[in-house]
């Protein structure tokens, strides 16, 4: 039986980011001037850092599944 993935977190109507546009801009700026491989490596490091910051195993498992869908 497949585990049921709770959808409450990403579908919350309350935005978790105080400044989504500012974050998005900073994210794109971080990639400016990087080659494709450098960008991929940057993303990998970023995911691992964010996983550490989140720190909750069940949230990380949910997120892995959501990104697959």
């Amino acid at each position: 039986m497949k585990p049921k993935i709770p959808m409450a977190l990403p579908n919350s109507a309350i935005p978790a980011l105080a400044d989504p546009d500012g974050f998005y801009e900073a994210l794109l700026d971080a990639h400016s001037g990087l080659s494709h491989d450098e960008s991929a490596a940057y993303n990998a490091r970023l995911v691992l850092i964010l996983a550490h910051q989140i720190g909750r195993q069940e949230v990380l498992m949910q997120s892995l599944a959501l990104a697959k869908a």
């Binding site: 990403p10 579908n11 919350s12 109507a13 935005p15 978790a16 980011l17 989504p20 546009d21 974050f23 998005y24 801009e25 994210l27 794109l28 990639h31 990087l34 494709h36 960008s39 993303n43 959501l66 869908a69």
Partner: protein, 591 residues
């Protein structure tokens, strides 16, 4: 098929010429050329206030000054509003702009002619990604004016012109083209060509409202921050035999436009503006040819829909902002307003609307200085406030432009991921950026805002009841104040009013008592019998002034921005706030 034009797109993008435009166009009003006496006499004219440029912002400033009884001269290079043979340019007017137009007395005409909308929908491919209803957002419902109205820009310009004719004080000189600039006898001096010959004029205060290709920038060596892009669009203003919904529709990726963006907006006269994003290397003549435009429209609306093309033209945008909103030219002081101060992409309607706000901000300050009520230091706050607004609007529009025209590589990957997630998850919708609609920008570092306010915000045009129970609006009070600060007093005990009444009599401030529930106060605490008392039974004014709890007093500027407020009645704080609005040099807590 003509796809080999030698004309590079870049050469067409910054011009106000519309060499690739198509369509039947609009019939614009024409006004008589004005030939000043100086053409014959050869005398050099000197004015207190000279406005160069009769577009939306220049006319808003002239009309605002006229309403405050301030003389000014406005030079316009042609004899009509809008651009001859061109599109309507701006179409989308914010609540703040509509409030300003209401104050100036032209809102009823805009309301009758324009189209109100509040629902916007964003699509990607065949899917709706999200929608919004501005009526349900923020404080839009507090104002007498709607969240937005769409109308062709030249209508608003025409209404302003006719209003200026009614008001007097401001003289519009049609067919007066500024041809040269110099500094003579320490004043900025213009050579001006008319159909009957040229003349020269100088002024103490000069307002550059010449728009996105301002010649003043070169004349005065103005430093600017510029960002160029390669995003290309083609406008089609059209009429249909069908009636799409009165909503703003945006496609980030439209299947009927090779998966590029499309905007769909209604204007007056049942005309729709359809904006098509083009390939960055598209040839402007080709993409705006009638065959191409009709093919595109047929793909979007169906081959059976009958289309009447009103105007078609390609455009590109750049992002540019002066580093200072004012400059000295000899003894003359030059102010930049509207597109001559900053140029932004059209997303979010942050161009014309912020130009209107520039004019509204500058008008009462110039009036106070010219009429001798304030020191010229007050004018420094124009840069402090409107440059903050300009840089914010440049940043916000740049972010939207980057979402709509992502660079190849990771920017594109992140946008695809955002759209993919946004179709399923609410959280990702906040990252989808098809334009953040213009707002009345708050001022967080203004020298004329009370230091205990984190920022000065625009107080909406809320309604109240006059003593006779008729409905009034904040704009009625602002018009009555005629350029003076407006002091609203909720709590006004007789015993503490002496100095306030003195200031009112001396013409420093206009006062109004706002009645809510006073309860059974002792006689000495009963509100004074003001000539001007209004009732606020639905308690709209206090929240509009930003009071969360009990309201005491609020000082509102002629442009309806909040200068200061307090609970209770702090006469000293009111005095300091009034001094700031008169351009006092150092007004702080240490006084």
């Amino acid at each position: 098929m003509k796809n080999t034009s030698s004309q590079p797109y870049a050469a067409a993008q910054h011009t106000n010429g519309y060499e690739f435009s198509q369509g039947t166009g609009y019939t614009l009003p024409e006004y008589d050329a004005v030939i000043p006496d100086a053409v014959k006499s050869g005398e050099i004219e000197h004015h207190r206030i000279l406005i160069v440029g009769g577009g939306l912002t220049g006319l808003t400033l002239a009309c605002s000054l006229a309403q405050l009884g301030v003389k000014c001269v406005l030079l316009d290079e042609d004899n009509t509003v809008g651009v001859k043979g061109a599109s309507s340019r701006g179409i989308c007017y914010t609540q703040k702009s509509l409030e300003i137009f209401d104050k100036l007395g032209i809102y009823e005409r805009i309301k009758a002619k324009g189209i109100q909308w509040s629902v916007g929908r964003t699509f990607a491919g065949e899917d709706e990604v999200y929608n919004f209803d501005l009526k349900a957002q923020g404080n839009f419902s507090l104002s007498e004016q709607p969240a937005f109205a769409n109308i062709q820009q030249f209508y608003n310009e025409g209404f302003l012109v006719e209003r200026i004719f009614e008001l007097g004080h401001a003289q519009i000189r049609w067919n007066n083209r500024v041809t040269a600039f110099s500094i003579e006898n320490k004043f900025a001096t213009f050579s001006i060509a008319t159909p009957a010959g040229s003349y020269k004029a100088t002024a103490d205060f000069i307002v550059d409202a010449t728009g996105s290709r301002s010649p003043f920038h070169d004349w005065l060596n103005i430093e600017k921050t510029i960002k160029k892009g390669d995003d290309r669009w083609c406008i089609a203003d059209v009429r249909f035999n069908t009636h799409p919904p009165k909503e703003r529709h945006t496609w980030i990726e439209a299947p009927f436009n090779e998966n590029r963006a499309v905007w769909q907006h209604l204007m007056a006269d049942d005309v729709w503006r359809i904006d098509y994003q083009m390939a960055p290397d598209a040839d402007p003549a080709y993409v705006s040819s009638e065959t191409q435009v009709r093919e595109r429209l047929a793909r979007q609306f169906g081959a059976e829909t009958k289309v009447d093309i009103v105007w078609v033209g390609p455009y590109a945008y750049r992002s540019e902002c002066v580093n200072a909103m004012a400059a000295k030219a000899g003894k003359s002081e030059v102010f930049f307003i509207g597109d001559s101060a900053k140029v932004v992409s059209p997303f979010g309607a942050r161009g014309g609307n912020t130009g209107i706000a520039d004019a509204d901000n500058l008008a009462w300050k110039l009036a106070a200085v010219v009429q001798g009520r304030a020191s010229s230091r007050l004018l420094q706050s124009y840069h402090a406030e409107r440059h903050e607004a300009a840089t914010t609007n440049v940043q916000v529009t740049n972010r939207t432009a980057r979402f709509l025209r992502p660079a190849q590589g990771m920017e594109r990957v992140f946008r695809d991921a955002t759209i993919h997630l946004a179709k399923k998850h609410l959280f990702a919708r906040s990252l989808v950026n098809t334009g953040r609609m213009a707002v009345a920008n708050p001022y967080s570092r203004s020298p004329i805002t009370a230091p205990d306010l984190a920022q000065s915000h625009s107080v909406q045009n809320v309604s109240f009841q006059w003593a006779n129970r008729h409905t009034g609006h904040l704009n009625d009070l602002l018009r009555w104040a005629a350029g003076l600060p407006l002091l609203l007093l909720w709590h006004a005990p007789q015993s503490r009013l002496a100095s306030l009444l003195m200031w009112a009599q001396a013409g420093r401030v206009r006062m109004v008592h706002v009645g809510e529930l006073m309860g059974s106060l002792p006689a000495s605490e009963q509100p004074a019998r003001f000539k001007e008392t209004i009732q606020d039974p639905e308690r709209r004014i206090a929240p509009a002034c930003g009071f969360a709890g009990a309201a005491g007093w609020a000082l509102i500027r002629p442009d309806s921005y909040l200068a200061a407020r307090g609970a209770g009645l702090d006469v000293r704080a009111i005095e300091l706030a009034l001094a700031r609005l008169q351009g006092a040099s150092r007004v702080g807590a240490s006084v």
